[in-house]
């Protein structure tokens, strides 16, 4: 089942390195979703994609002044509005 999304939404994984965007929606399984939301990645939060690890995965984010790292596969289901 393809997820419905608005045309101006892009996956966090596709956000340019260094860019900041507003989070719109967190997908993925329930445990992942709850975990990242409890760490402050709730809809409306500003999230910056800071870096990609040297081996291409995972990626480093900053949200609410806190640095987090999630894998690229998961960053594909976290949606932001540029």
């Amino acid at each position: 089942m393809a997820e419905q999304h608005q045309s101006d939404e892009i996956p966090l994984a596709s956000l340019a390195t260094g860019a900041t965007a507003l989070l719109t929606r967190v997908g993925g399984d329930r445990a992942f979703r709850r975990r990242v939301m409890e760490l402050g990645l709730v809809p409306g939060a500003a999230v910056q994609k800071r870096k990609t690890a040297p081996l291409g995965d995972p990626i480093e984010l900053e949200v609410r002044g806190c640095r987090l790292s999630i894998r690229r596969a998961e960053a594909e289901v976290v949606w932001v509005k540029a």
């Binding site: 445990a31 709850r34 975990r35 990242v36």
Partner: protein, 711 residues
């Protein structure tokens, strides 16, 4: 006389990386009592803290957590400790460590605790880094309606005021639940339904109902949730995803409106940014990483060696002294070879354990361990593990004992178990003497194409073989026995901070004493058992009258030769020797005879013991090492009943593969038992590794013979 009141119980909670351990050490000072939470490989640390003259309390350290909800057994620890659910005692007070430089995220947990209605005191840590951006603590306390004590855990600044606050709050508790948001009609209905279903003994409490709604799923690993509560959660109503989003968003909305505006800016992170620009740089990052990992590995592999040798020498000297000062006999032998030898084989692990935990403490407390996980995640994912498994795996190349203990730094139970199950496959240093002996005795010192030395190539091959087998085992186990829902990696990259030496040393000594107490006793027991197997019965029917011959011997060399021959015959006649005979049908298809079987039994004490056991078995004396020419020649000349040599290169390959894969190490089993809290996992480890070893050796030996190699 007043009735003795029970000591107050205080729980210390907080996010990871908030200085919680440092604060715990400051508040207690004395040694912590360390136990295990039932069913999970997580430690429960309790220590006495002084509230004033003659006034003590118990302080329990709740493992660092971002939230009280969760679907796994280890995530359930927090709610159990905070509420006393599941038979524990409800704490009289909870001290929450809140990182002042990361206030909003940290206070999320505070809101959960206030909803639960715990008697709460907030310790605002990292104050030294947060000055200038924080509102006055008392203003923050007014917004949060909660007592707040600012502290600098590193220096202890503010700790006396915190203790005073704790004392006040114990005297006048404030445990009214506080909710900062109103549940929607749908959620309200679901919470009421769960509360109504709760049987007696399960509090009818909104926060607990919400906990159940957010934690219980069809496939959770939670213990002790009443079936009625479980079915009330799963019966329907709003979806779990909708509840999660509503609740989490509502709490953050309150924090964003009430806390975030009071902050005057983001914390200073330029140091961390500058350090990270090197440490996770695509090139320099790996250079530094390799350098640091080299130090970790080298310290276990080489730097621990002088201490290990010293321990062996001391125990050897004590044993020698006891041996000569007591009359010879069974008691003497038991004391020297069983008890003293056994204690020696426990203590000998201490240098590596202390060194590894010193390094781990520095890596963890400085914040670098999170970067190791970040850098190596892509690699460790091949094993269905995350980057945090890297250091334990690397340590496995030195010794499985500290490596298994190092799995504590990993967050998930399943990841810890999976790592523990494959770490013993790594080529540890105890396997090297066996490889050296086999390769030296059975393979020519030739060079392939005139350049590559065959013997060196074989050694490299054995290392690669162990890595491939560990990868394969992890791949298979993670899809079968340790199959678990794929949990996404969510890794916090904390700011770099200078580790506090006292915390690191405290963890080192606590780990070491735990190893001595719990794993050490098992290892000692095994050693005495093995000693008995290889020493009894004493009345072996010798083929020659050694005593008479020794008495008549002319030279010392003759005496030594005769004694060695007698020892060999005695060992071959022992229970262990008979066991070797008994297992011969099982190991014959691998190309091993019963004498090798005796060596395998002896090697269970530690793999390298195989070398000296074979020395005794072949009557060249136990005082040989892997470089011994006598032993190598003796092996090459050893013939089977049919007159063919016992040791061929093919048998050597089969034997090396067996040692690479079999769990020939009682200390590994003892330490896995200690870490997992039972015999189930060590039993599994032993059975799977030994079966794997047998199968691979069988394929090598029988396959080699089919291909025409001499068997």
């Amino acid at each position: 006389m007043s009735e003795p009141r029970p000591r107050p119980l205080i729980a210390l909670a907080g996010n990871p990386n908030t200085g919680k351990t440092t604060l715990f050490n400051h508040l207690t000072g004395s040694r912590a009592r360390v136990g295990n939470y039932p069913g999970v490989t997580v430690e429960r640390r309790v220590a006495t803290m002084s509230l004033g003259p003659g006034q003590d309390a118990d302080l329990v350290d709740i493992p660092g957590t971002y939230s009280i909800v969760g679907r796994s057994a280890e995530e359930q620890i927090a709610i159990r400790e905070l509420t006393g659910l599941g038979g524990g005692r409800r704490p009289d007070l909870v001290v929450l460590c809140v990182d002042a430089t990361n206030l909003v995220r940290n206070l999320y947990l505070a809101l959960q605790l206030q909803e639960l209605g715990v008697n709460l005191v907030i310790a605002l840590t990292m104050m030294d880094e947060a000055r200038g951006i924080l509102p006055e603590p008392h203003k923050l306390g007014a917004v949060l309606q909660c007592s707040i004590a600012p502290v600098v855990a590193r220096s202890g600044e503010g700790v006396p005021a915190l203790v005073e606050l704790i004392r006040d709050r114990l005297a006048t508790p404030d445990a009214d639940p506080r909710w900062r948001w109103t549940p929607s009609r749908l959620l309200r209905g679901a919470m009421d339904r769960v509360s109504a279903a709760a049987p007696s003994g399960w509090p009818k409490d909104d926060a607990l109902a919400l906990w159940a709604l957010m934690s219980v799923t069809e496939t959770d690993e939670l213990h002790g949730v009443p079936p009625a509560v479980r079915s009330a959660v799963l019966i329907g109503g709003p979806s779990g995803e909708d509840i999660d989003e509503e609740v989490i968003t509502a709490r953050y909305r309150w924090l964003d409106e009430h806390i975030a505006p009071a902050l005057s800016g983001p914390p200073e992170r330029s140091l961390t940014d500058r350090v990270d620009s090197v440490l996770i740089h695509p090139i320099f990052g790996f250079v530094v990483f390799l350098g640091i990992m080299f130090v970790v590995f080298q310290s276990l592999f080489a730097w621990a060696d002088p201490a290990i040798t010293l321990i062996e020498d001391v125990f050897g000297a004590v044993g020698g002294w006891v041996a000569t000062s007591l009359p010879p006999g069974i008691l003497n032998d038991l004391l020297v070879n069983g008890v003293i030898g056994g204690m020696g084989s426990v203590v000998v692990f201490l240098p590596q354990i202390l060194l590894l935990f010193f390094m781990l403490g520095l890596l963890e407390d400085s914040g670098y361990m999170a970067r190791v996980a970040y850098l190596m995640d892509r690699v460790m994912r091949l094993m269905n593990l995350n980057g945090r498994a890297f250091v334990p795996m690397l340590s496995g190349f030195a010794c499985a004992i500290p490596a298994v203990m190092a799995t504590r730094t990993m967050e998930r139970q399943r990841d810890r178990l999976l790592t523990m199950m494959v770490v013993p496959l790594m080529t540890c240093s105890a396997r090297l003497p066996i490889y050296t002996l086999m390769i030296g005795a059975l393979f020519p010192p030739d060079r392939l194409w005139g350049v590559v030395p065959v013997q060196g190539l074989l050694m490299v091959f054995m290392y690669l073989f162990s890595v491939v087998m560990a990868l394969t085992a992890a791949w298979v186990l993670s899809r079968t026995v340790l199959k678990a829902p794929n949990v996404a990696l969510v890794l916090e990259l904390p700011p770099y901070r200078a580790p506090r030496l006292r915390d690191v040393l405290r963890m080192m000594t606590s780990r070491a004493s735990m190893f001595l107490r719990e794993a050490g006793t098992v290892i000692l027991g095994f050693t005495i058992l093995l000693w008995a197997l290889l020493s009894f019965p004493k009345d072996v029917a010798f083929t020659q009258d050694y005593e008479a011959q020794i008495a008549a011997a002319q030279t010392e060399a003759q005496v030594a030769e005769l004694t060695a021959a007698q020892d060999g015959e005695r060992l071959r006649g022992s229970y262990g020797g008979r066991l070797g005979h008994a297992i011969e049908p099982v190991i014959q298809p691998l190309g091993f005879d019963w004498k090798i079987g005796v060596g395998l039994i002896g090697a269970f004490a530690a793999r390298e013991v195989f070398v000296s056991t074979m020395g005794v078995v072949y009557g060249v004396g136990g005082d040989v090492n892997e470089e011994s020419v006598t032993l190598r020649e003796r092996m090459r000349s050893e013939l089977r009943d049919d007159g063919k040599p016992v040791y061929t290169p093919l048998v050597g390959m089969s034997l090396m593969a067996f040692f690479a894969l079999a769990c020939q190490c009682m200390s590994t089993l003892a330490v896995v038992k200690r870490e997992t809290g039972g015999w189930r996992w060590p039993a599994f480890l032993f059975v799977y590794m030994t079966s794997l070893a047998w199968t691979v050796s069988f394929v090598i030996y029988q396959g080699g013979r089919l291909l025409g190699f001499a068997g």
